[in-house]
C-alpha cells in the first residue's frame, strides 16, 4: 500500500453530535482499488463514518482526503464518490433511467455521454430491460442493482456502500454478494462497505476494519482478523458460534484455570510470553477436535454433552469440561445426546490468549 496510491485517507477524525462523541480520533488509510469493509455492531458509528467520507456530515475535527485531495469541506458531489444505501433510496417518481441519469444531468454532462454511461451501467448490472420502469415495479434485488448503478454511472473512484444487502433475504443476499465481488474485480474501484454481517465482511473484504464505539479496533485482512484477533472484542465479535473463552492466569507458557494446568507451548505470542498475568484463553468451536480426533491433540479434556444443536450441515454441541462450557462444532452426521461423554482436544497453535486487564492479544 503505497502512500502515493492512497485513495482515501482519514486523519484524526472526530465527530460529535452535541455531547455525544460518535467518532473519536479515527485514522484510516485505504489504498487505491482496495475493498474495505467496516464491520461492527449496531450504533458503533459505521454509517456516521461513511457519511463523513461522503460529505453528508460535517466533521468536528480532522481531515478527509480522497484521491490525494483534501475534501474535508468539499460538497458530496465534488468528492468523486458514489454511495449506495441500505434502503436503496431510489427516487420513487423517476424511472430507472431517470434515477441513473439524475446525477449526471445535475453535473451538466452532455446528453450522449449520459446515454452512453447509463447504457454501460445497465449492461454491467444487467438491468437493461428495466430502464423504463419505476422503482416500485422492481424486486428488492433489482432495486439494489439500480442503486449500485446510480453510483456506477458517476464514474467515481470510490464507492461507499451502507449495508446495501441487509434488507434482502438470505438467498438473494448471497447472490448479490457474489455480484458485488465480481463488480469490484471488474471495475477496480476503491470500495468502502459497511455491514454487520460477518459473512459479507469475510468474503468481500481485502481488509476489514472492526469498529466499536467510534474507534477502529482492528484493521486487517479477513484471515488475519479471524486467525489473529488483536483483542478480546474482535475475537468474540468474529466467528459464529462465538469463540469459547476461559478465564485463568498465565505464567510463562502455563495457563492455569478451572480446566486445570494447560501448557500453551506452541502458541505464537505477539511479543513473547509474559511472566505472570491474569489472562483469557480463547478457542473457536471449529478448532476443537472431539471424539477420536481429540486424542491427537496436544491439549485434551474430558467433557459431557449438555446441549446438541443439529444444523444439518454441522452439529453444534455445548459440552461441559470441568465446569467450563465449550461450544464444539461437529460433523452434521454426528449423533450425540445430552449426557454423553465426549473427549475434546485442541492445538495450542489454534488458541488465542488475551491479557485480562487490557484485553489485548498476548
Amino acid at each position: 500500500m503505497n502512500a502515493q496510491m492512497n485513495s482515501v485517507e482519514i486523519k484524526n477524525l472526530d465527530l460529535h453530535f452535541g455531547a455525544v462523541k460518535v467518532l473519536q480520533d479515527l485514522n484510516l488509510t485505504i489504498g487505491q482499488g482496495e475493498f474495505l469493509v467496516l464491520l461492527g455492531s449496531s450504533g458503533c458509528g459505521k454509517s456516521t463514518l461513511l457519511n463523513c467520507i461522503a460529505g453528508l456530515l460535517d466533521v468536528t475535527a480532522g481531515q478527509i482526503h480522497i484521491g490525494g485531495k483534501n475534501v474535508t469541506w468539499a460538497e458530496p458531489s465534488d468528492r468523486g464518490i458514489g454511495m449506495v444505501f441500505q434502503s436503496y433510496a431510489l427516487y420513487p417518481q423517476m424511472t430507472v433511467e431517470g434515477n441513473l441519469s439524475f446525477g449526471l444531468k445535475n453535473a451538466k454532462v452532455p446528453k450522449d455521454e449520459i446515454a452512453k454511461r447509463v447504457a454501460r451501467a445497465a449492461e454491467v448490472l444487467q438491468i437493461e430491460p428495466l430502464l423504463k420502469r419505476k422503482p416500485a415495479a422492481l424486486s428488492g434485488g433489482q432495486r439494489q442493482r439500480v442503486a449500485i448503478g446510480r453510483a456506477l454511472v458517476r464514474d467515481v473512484d470510490v464507492f461507499l456502500f451502507d449495508e446495501p444487502l441487509s434488507n434482502l433475504d438470505a438467498k438473494l443476499r448471497a447472490d448479490l454478494r457474489v455480484e458485488i465481488k465480481q463488480l469490484h474485480q471488474t471495475l477496480g474501484n476503491t470500495m468502502i462497505y459497511v455491514t454487520h454481517d460477518q459473512i459479507e465482511a469475510m468474503t468481500l473484504a481485502d481488509r476489514i476494519a472492526i469498529m466499536k464505539g467510534g474507534r477502529v479496533m482492528q484493521l486487517d485482512s479477513p484471515s488475519e482478523i479471524y486467525n489473529r484477533p488483536r483483542n478480546l472484542y474482535v475475537a468474540e465479535f468474529i466467528g459464529s458460534p462465538t469463540m469459547n473463552m476461559v478465564d485463568g492466569a498465565l505464567a510463562a507458557t502455563q495457563f492455569s484455570s478451572p480446566l486445570g494446568e494447560i501448557s500453551v507451548e506452541g502458541y505464537a505470542f505477539d511479543g513473547g510470553a509474559p511472566d505472570a498475568t491474569p489472562a483469557v484463553l480463547g478457542i473457536r468451536p471449529e478448532h476443537i477436535a472431539s471424539g477420536a480426533a481429540a486424542a491427537q491433540m496436544p491439549i485434551r479434556l474430558d467433557s459431557t454433552v449438555e446441549l446438541v444443536e443439529p444444523l444439518g450441515s454441522d452439529t453444534l454441541a455445548r459440552v461441559n469440561a470441568n465446569g467450563a462450557p465449550f461450544w464444539v462444532r461437529l460433523d452434521g452426521q454426528a449423533t450425540l445426546r445430552p449426557g454423553d461423554a465426549l473427549p475434546i482436544g485442541f492445538d495450542p497453535a489454534r488458541i488465542h490468549l488475551f491479557d485480562k486487564a487490557s484485553e489485548e492479544r498476548l
Binding site: 460538497e75 458530496p76 464518490i81 454511495m83 444505501f85 417518481q93 439524475f102 446525477g103 453535473a107
Partner: protein, 300 residues
C-alpha cells in the same frame, strides 16, 4: 390426515357474527346520533334557504319546505344589498377567488420550502426561528393588526392584493411549516443524501425529489389554507379596499344589515353560498386529507 378431514363436528369456518350485535347497535347508534348533531345545522340552513319568508315565520325551522323557492338563493347571489351595492355575493365571490388563489399558492410555497429547509438543511438557529414561529400560532390576530398595518405601509403594499397575500402567508406560516417539517422529516433521509451525492442542490432536491413525493401533505395544506383564507373576514377587510372585499364581507353585510324583518332565507342562502367552495373541497378530498394528516401531523 385426509381421513380426519372427512367430516368435521362442532364449530367450523368463520365465527358467526350477528348483524345486530349489541356492539354494533351501540357503535352505529352513537355514530348516528353524532351524525345528526353534525348534520342538523346544515339541514336547517338548506331547508330555510329554500323557504319563503311567510313559511319561515309560520312553521318551525326543521320542517321541510312546503313550497320550494330558489328566490332566496338568487337574491343572495345577485340582488342583496349592502349600502348602495345591490349585486349580492357575486362580486365578492370573484374577489374571494382572486384573493384565495395567490394567497394559497404563495403561503404554501413559502411554508413548504421552510419545512423542507428545517427538516433537511438544519442550519444554526433554525430551531429558534421555528420555536418563534410556533409561538406565533398562538398570537391573537388582533395584536398583530397594528404592527402589520405599519409594516405594509412602509413596504408600500398596504391596500393591495399582494399586501393581503403577504398577511395570509404570515399567519398561515406557523401551522403549515409545522406540517411540512414533520412530513419531510418522515421521508427517508437517505433519499436526501443520495440526491446530494448526485450533486443536486437545495432547489433541485426540493423540486425534483421532495415535491413529487409530497402530494398528501400538499393536499392538507391546500385544504387548510383554502378554508382559512376563504373564510377570512378580518384581514380581507382591513388590508384591502372595497373593490377587493372578499365574499365574507358581503356575507357579513347581508346578514348584519337587516331591513325590518331579518330575511333568514336569504341569510342562509348567502351563508351556504359562501361556504360552498370549502365545503366542496372537503367533500371531494376528505380521504386525501386524512392520509395527509396521518403523514404530516402525527409524527412529532
Amino acid at each position: 390426515m385426509d381421513a380426519v378431514s372427512a367430516h368435521l363436528d362442532g364449530p367450523q369456518g368463520p365465527k358467526p357474527r350477528k348483524r345486530f350485535s349489541r356492539n354494533n347497535i351501540i357503535i352505529y347508534g352513537i355514530l348516528g346520533m353524532v351524525a345528526l348533531y353534525y348534520l342538523l345545522p346544515l339541514y336547517v340552513m338548506v331547508v330555510t334557504s329554500l323557504k319563503g319568508m311567510p313559511e319561515i315565520r309560520m312553521g318551525n325551522i326543521f320542517a321541510p319546505p312546503v313550497e320550494i323557492t330558489f328566490e332566496p338563493w338568487v337574491k343572495a347571489w345577485s340582488e342583496a344589498c349592502t349600502g348602495l351595492n345591490c349585486d349580492g355575493l357575486s362580486r365578492g365571490f370573484w374577489n374571494s377567488v382572486q384573493i384565495t388563489i395567490p394567497s394559497v399558492i404563495v403561503s404554501i410555497a413559502i411554508a413548504s420550502v421552510n419545512g423542507y429547509a428545517l427538516a433537511n438543511w438544519r442550519f444554526k438557529g433554525a430551531d429558534v426561528f421555528f420555536a418563534i414561529l410556533i409561538f406565533g400560532a398562538f398570537i391573537p390576530y388582533q395584536v398583530m393588526l397594528y404592527p402589520l398595518v405599519i409594516m405594509l405601509r412602509e413596504l408600500g403594499l398596504y391596500g393591495s392584493l399582494w399586501g393581503l397575500v403577504i398577511v395570509h402567508s404570515i399567519f398561515g406560516m406557523p401551522i403549515l411549516t409545522l406540517l411540512f417539517r414533520n412530513y419531510f422529516t418522515s421521508l427517508p433521509e437517505e433519499l436526501f443524501k443520495a440526491a446530494r451525492v448526485d450533486g443536486a442542490g437545495f432547489w433541485q432536491i426540493y423540486f425534483q425529489i421532495m415535491l413529487p413525493m409530497s402530494l398528501p401533505i400538499f393536499v392538507v395544506a391546500m385544504i387548510l389554507q383554502v378554508t382559512g383564507i376563504w373564510n377570512d373576514f378580518l384581514f380581507g377587510v382591513i388590508y384591502t379596499k372595497p373593490d377587493l372585499y372578499p365574499m365574507t364581507v358581503q356575507l357579513n353585510n347581508i346578514v348584519n344589515s337587516v331591513q325590518g324583518v331579518k330575511e333568514y332565507n336569504v341569510n342562509m342562502a348567502a351563508t351556504l353560498l359562501t361556504g360552498l367552495v370549502p365545503l366542496v373541497i372537503y367533500f371531494v378530498s376528505g380521504k386525501l386529507f386524512v392520509r395527509g394528516i396521518a403523514a404530516g401531523a402525527v409524527k412529532g
